[in-house]
Each structure stands twice: as C-alpha cells, then as structure tokens.
Point group: C2
Chain length 137, copies 2
Amino acid sequence: MSGHKENRDAVSDVALARAENSAQGSIPTAVDRDPAIPPVCCSLAISGDEQAKLITMFKALGNPVRFEIMKFLVTRPGCITGDIVEYLPIAQSTVSQHLKVLRDAGWIEGAISGAAVNYCLHARNIAWFKEKVGEIF
Amino acid sequence: MSGHKENRDAVSDVALARAENSAQGSIPTAVDRDPAIPPVCCSLAISGDEQAKLITMFKALGNPVRFEIMKFLVTRPGCITGDIVEYLPIAQSTVSQHLKVLRDAGWIEGAISGAAVNYCLHARNIAWFKEKVGEIF
DNA sequence: GCCCACTATCGTATTTTTGCGATGATAGAT
DNA sequence: ATCTATCATCGCAAAAATACGATAGTGGGC
C-alpha cells in the first residue's frame, strides 16, 4: 500500500493552517526569499468550507459532458433529465451521474415534477462562484 | 474492451454541432417541450477552442493542491518552484507536475531565472477566464 | 573541467473518474 | 393492480489523475 494519497487532504490542512496567519494580518511568507519584494495583495479571506465548495465547483465544470449540460441549461429556464439524455450521445445512467455531480457541486438544482425531475441553473450559487473568483484573483 | 470512453469526445462534437445553430440565430431546443416558454438568454457565442480552454482551466483548479498553489501565488508577485515545495507537504516531483498543469491551463506562467523558474499568475488569462464565465452564466 | 542548487521527466503504484448495462424506485395512467 | 414513463443507484471495467522515488537536464560557482 501507498498510493501516497494521504497527502491530498493534508495539503488543505497544512497550507490552510499557514494561510490563516494571513487572515490575522501578517501575510504568510512561507519562504521569505526577498524581503525587499512585498507580497502583492489579496485578503484571501476564504474559509475552509468556502474553499472546498469552490474546488468542487471548479472540478464539476472541468468535464466536457458536464460543461455541455450547463450550456444546454443556460439556453432554457429548465428541463427534465430526459431532454438532456436526448441531447447528448451518452447513456441515461451516465447523464444521471453527471447531473448528480453538478447538483452536489451547486451548479444546478432539481425540482421533482411528478415522475420527472426539472433541472435548472442554481442562480444563487453561480453568482456566489463568480463573486468569490473575482475576490480571489 | 469497453471503458466506453470514446463518447467523451463525441459529446463535444455532437453537442457543439447543435450549439452552433444557436450562433445562427435559431436557439437550439433539442426538445421543444413547451413552446410557450421561451429560451432564457445567452448568446453562448463560444468557440470550440475557447470552450476547451475554459474546461481545462476549470479542471486545473478543481484540485486542492493546485488551488493552494494559486492561493500561494496570489499573495506574492512571483516565486520559484522551491518555495512552493517548501510550503506544501508534498514531493518536489509532484509539485512540478501540478505546476505544469497550471501552466498548461494558463493560470500561471514561468520565467526561467538561472537554474530556477519564477512562477507568477497569468493575469491576462485569469482576466479572460472571469470574463468568459461572466458571459456564459 | 567538476560540483551544487534547482526543476523537469520517467517509471510505477494507487485512487478516482467515467462510462455502460442492469436493476430498483416512484408517480401517473389504464 | 398493472403497466409505462422517468430517474437514480448498483456493479463492473477501462481510463485518467495523483503521488512517490529515482533519474536526467541546466545554469552558476569553484
């Protein structure tokens, strides 16, 4: 054993621990390689939860199928799963999984409508995403 | 055989082919489920190349380590690979790979400085990303 | 020339993601 | 009650992503 995957979570822990110092005012310079050059900017006031949510949203859209689903939804006020299944050349079960990823990430929301489920963009979360990205970078 | 992976590219092809109709004016409604409800908005004037680049950028930041690297870079005008290696609890070779992903995606750029490489945010691409995301959603 | 600091790449192992068909679960119609 | 439509979930296989150590390459100092 040892896919060395344990570090993936450790990154958030260690790095975030250091990052919290910046929230305190002293900007974190893990390595002060040239004190003459001051850190640039950015409060980076982002909580661990917010960061995790952002990463999840980034990851969700980092896939062609899901990106296509989002583009599809952008052009209409909402649609049911079957519409997307018809639109895309992939199996229903696969589409369902992608929809779940998008829903869990917060990009879309689904309203049960009889036996069908009506999906639409999650406007509030999308606005939040754009706002946060704007703040950080 | 059958990882059924061939469709992943096909999605872009098929869906994009339909999407191009929208660029022509007639908004693509794969399934016209209720003509009374008009499509919402969005020109979605995005080329295949632009979409591919966007997806790559999304995917790149959908990873905790790379997100942490970006946060690190945001707080300073630039730094060398070694600084990031010291900052994060992961191996140098792994950091190097992540930096390559970020560089290929266009989030950062690296300038050779002697034996070292100075990495900094790719301001132009970041601005482009925010602009495109704002346009689409 | 020879070393040292700094990165990138190679080879490999593990985990995660992606996709499918088959099967379950639920709502509405007959 | 049964059938149909709709969607989610399960189980599995293939591919991609992630991580490491080891190794190669490059530039600067001696």
